[in-house]
């Protein structure tokens, strides 16, 4: 077990390096540079800026300089936010995104799980159908529609919650963004869990358990849930990584200083170092989540453990 974890962490390093290299060169292929602005800079100024950020060196030199920096824990200066290092920006945004994404993940798991358990009580029954149609709505409504609707309703019409903003420790700031972030996840989780629950409930050993006269909720929550969690867990791996690194839409609508906006804006602004910083972070998180998924699989599925 420990061996597996160590091995996976070690193989993760070359994977990340590969990822980093791929992105470094891919990014430079895109036309336009960090200093192209609506109001273009005088050539002398642009030359000075390029020299300041070492963009005048060869690509290979820049690559080496960048890797050298990383080896010392420095992800370089941001091109867009002057005077900030990439790691400073990430260190500021990551806790916010973790908090928001973590809360949304928790909510999605609880609510999605509850919906799935409710739905499988009578498969094909009216409640099941109603819930599943509802989840479909949750999946197909893009969050850039849902989020403003939530603001309109709860902030502007009812006046219960703020329309945006982020003050550390203010739970009211969290409610709407967490809800908007969790909504599609609730729907996905409910659907995945429902279908895998149905499949497990058809298995012989469940029929045996029922035959022994165990109550339906005991069958469901004790015997069926464990194997039924497997497909959900493999879904949750990448989903958790995405949630925890923030969502550009939610952050934009609610004015939250998380990481999500960096993914899009850094790429749009050709903020090369910041792009690479968030890509590395995201990659590391995905690898970590995958590792956790595999560990969970092992814990839940005895066959896998033997293999």
């Amino acid at each position: 077990m420990l061996n597996l974890v160590l091995r996976r962490l070690l193989t993760g390093i070359p994977t990340l390096l590969l990822l980093l290299t791929l992105c470094f060169f891919l990014m430079r292929l895109a036309p336009g540079g960090p200093f192209d602005r609506e109001r273009s800079l005088p050539p002398a100024v642009e030359t000075a800026l390029r020299a300041e950020y070492h963009l005048d060196e060869s690509l290979w030199q820049q690559y080496r300089r960048y890797l050298g920096g990383i080896a010392q824990g420095d992800f370089g200066p941001s091109f867009q936010y002057e005077g900030y290092r990439v790691q400073e920006l990430i260190a500021a945004g990551l806790p916010v995104s973790l908090q928001l994404g973590g809360a949304a993940l928790l909510l999605a798991l609880l609510a999605g799980g509850a919906l799935a358990v409710l739905a499988v009580r009578k498969p094909g029954g009216p409640l099941d159908r109603a819930l599943m149609s509802l989840t479909l709505l949750g999946i197909c409504l893009p969050n850039y529609v849902v989020a403003p609707l939530l603001v309109l309703l709860f902030a502007l019409t009812l006046g219960w919650l703020p329309a945006g903003g982020w003050q550390p420790g203010q739970w009211r700031d969290l409610v709407l963004p967490v809800a908007a972030l969790a909504l599609p996840q609730i729907a996905y989780i409910a659907r995945i869990l429902r279908s895998s629950l149905l499949e497990t409930l058809a298995a012989p050993y469940i029929r045996a358990a029922r035959a022994r006269g165990l109550s339906e909720s005991r069958v469901l929550l004790v015997h069926a849930i464990k194997p039924a969690l497997l497909p959900l867990i493999s879904y949750l791996g990448p989903a958790a990584a995405a949630l925890l690194t923030g969502s550009v839409v939610i952050e934009q609508v609610f004015g939250i200083p998380g990481l999500g906006r960096y993914f899009v804006q850094a790429a749009l602004n050709r903020d090369y170092t910041l792009v690479l910083g968030v890509v590395t972070l995201y990659g590391a998180l995905v690898l970590l989540c995958n590792l956790l998924v595999d560990l969970a699989y092992g814990a839940l599925d005895p066959r896998q453990r033997a293999a």
Binding site: R39, V45, Y84, P148, V151, A163, G255, P257
Partner: protein, 525 residues
């Protein structure tokens, strides 16, 4: 039990709302996250807004755009008109209490013109003696025509007589530099916990992508008159999100107004809507280097076919003013040069457009095929769609719309190899009409149309040679008339500054450059 919980919650919420509204804090929506608060390095409008609250130049502009004493209490001009001597206020201080000295201005100006420092607005300082040579790398920054005579006396020598020179000193590029901070932190000096400022406010907190908090600077020479204790600038680039936060009472001033919501806002919040002329022109640039737009007849036809009033009324929803000329109204010492056709009835405009279109060799069988590029933004896209529809409807032009990712668009527009028609805008740095006209001078780095016309350049050169003489104005006006006849660009609308302003904000004054110093405002209790 549960109703008690509900009551406590309700109380908590209420207290939150009440707190937000009654405290002496101004909450400003400020568009995009500022890229820097370094006066010499900042370039975006949102950054410059904040810097004008933090730092103070030798002068500041009043609501009429007239320079008023600020860090300098007075100044003299010698007989030649080329040498200014400024006297700083003895009570002027940095926010740590240390004295503001003439040397701080010298350091700032030298830093700005030194090309190694990459100051985006350095060119504004070109009237100062030696500035152009330094910017070109031919002279050392120390040779700049700026000298500290003593701690309080600053002398600036100009290369040539320059109208509007004093107004340039209200621009952040000429704001003072606290030398020790710069030496200690380098480019990162303008951050919370490091930055010293000499204006009415000082930087307290900077949360990237959220807000920048300023608090009153107790060492400001005029601190007694500053009434708002705290100013929060929120970085909200999503215009819809900004409006929602304003409507929820979380902002006092917005930076923008969503176009599609304007009619509704006018009905429901008419009194809070502040629209005022703003020195900026939105236009379609025409790449005159390449066929088919090298033909002035075609350029004119395309311009005449556009119904600007319709664009302003229905697309901009009244948040702009129709533009038939290049220099917007409101520049100093200049009259707007409206061309004749702007007064014609629409039918006559269209008839003339069709005549020119035919003359240029296009018919309904052989229509013009043209590409219209814009950077991907909702407002640009909507305007491009309508312009293309007008060209199609009234001339039969087949327009291909190309919405490009922003940086791709900027790179293409600048290179000019593949562009035909492209969206652009120009926002003034000062109130001088020459700033607009210079954009189209041949060889100007911002002239993306490729327009290069010796006669036009000559008119501009003649105007510059007039110094501050009244004849300068006539030359400039002639240059614009000439430009409009050549039509290397199609002006669509003049900008308006557009804000929603909470009724509790007092003493707000409209300004053609959209400068609003927080120190002049106060909040109704």
């Amino acid at each position: 039990m549960s109703w008690r919980l509900a009551a406590v919650l309700a109380l908590l919420m209420l207290s939150g709302i009440v707190c937000a509204a009654s405290e002496n804090r101004l909450r400003i929506g400020n568009n995009a996250e500022p890229e820097s608060l370094d006066p010499q390095r900042a370039s975006s409008v949102s950054a410059l807004n904040i810097i004008r609250d933090l730092d103070e130049g030798l002068v500041q502009l009043d609501a009429q755009g007239q320079p008023q004493p600020a860090a300098a209490q007075s100044w003299q001009r010698d007989a030649s008109g080329l040498v200014y001597t400024f006297t700083l206020r003895p009570s002027a201080r940095w926010s740590d209490g240390s004295a503001l000295q003439a040397q701080d201005f010298v350091a700032a100006l030298r830093r700005a013109v030194d090309p190694r420092n990459g100051a985006p607005f350095a060119q504004l300082l070109s009237p100062i003696a030696q500035a152009e040579a330094i910017m070109a790398g031919h002279a050392t920054p120390e040779s700049l025509g700026v000298a500290a005579l003593d701690a309080q006396q600053l002398r600036i020598t100009l290369a040539r007589p320059t109208p509007q020179f004093l107004a340039l000193l209200a621009h952040p590029v000429s704001f003072p530099l606290h030398g020790p901070s710069w030496q200690r932190y380098g480019a990162g000096f303008a951050r919370a916990g490091r930055m010293l400022s000499n204006g009415a406010y000082q930087l307290r907190d900077w949360v990237v992508h959220d807000r920048i908090e300023l608090v009153r600077n107790p060492h400001y020479w005029n601190a007694g008159t500053v009434r708002i204790a705290q100013v929060s600038y929120y970085a909200i680039d999503d215009v819809d999100a900004e409006l929602k936060r304003y409507l929820a009472g979380e902002l006092d001033i917005t930076a923008q107004i969503p176009l599609v919501q304007a009619p509704q806002l006018r009905r429901e919040r008419g009194a809070e809507l502040r629209l005022a002329p703003y020195l900026g022109t939105y236009y379609l640039g025409l790449n005159v280097r390449r066929a088919p737009l090298d033909d002035p007849r075609l350029r004119r036809a395309l311009s005449l076919a556009i119904d600007r009033k319709l664009i302003v009324d229905k697309v901009m929803n009244g948040l702009a003013a129709p533009a038939a000329s290049w220099v917007p109204p409101g520049t100093a010492d200049y009259s707007p040069q409206t061309p004749d056709w702007a007064q014609w009835p629409r039918a006559q405009q269209l008839a003339e457009a069709r005549r020119l279109y035919r003359e240029a060799g296009y018919t309904s069988e052989h229509p013009l095929h043209i590409e219209l590029r814009y950077n991907q933004h909702d407002d640009h896209r909507r305007i491009a769609i309508v312009v293309a529809a007008m060209w199609k409807q009234w001339l039969g032009v087949q327009t291909q719309l190309l919405g490009e990712e922003n940086k791709v668009f900027l790179a293409n527009r600048r290179a000019g190899h593949i562009t035909q028609v492209f969206r652009a805008s120009w926002i003034a740095d000062d109130q001088d009409a020459a700033g607009f006209l210079q954009v189209l001078a041949s060889g100007n780095g911002r002239n993306d149309t490729g327009f290069a016309d010796a006669a036009y350049d000559a008119l501009l050169a003649q105007a510059a040679a007039q110094g501050e003489a009244p004849s300068r104005r006539a030359r400039l006006e002639e240059a614009e008339r000439y430009l409009l006849a050549q039509q290397p660009l199609i002006p669509l609308y003049f900008y308006l500054s557009k804000h929603l302003l909470s009724p509790r904000v007092q003493n707000w004054q409209d300004h053609v450059l959209d400068y609003h110093y927080s120190k002049d405002l106060w909040l109704a209790p």
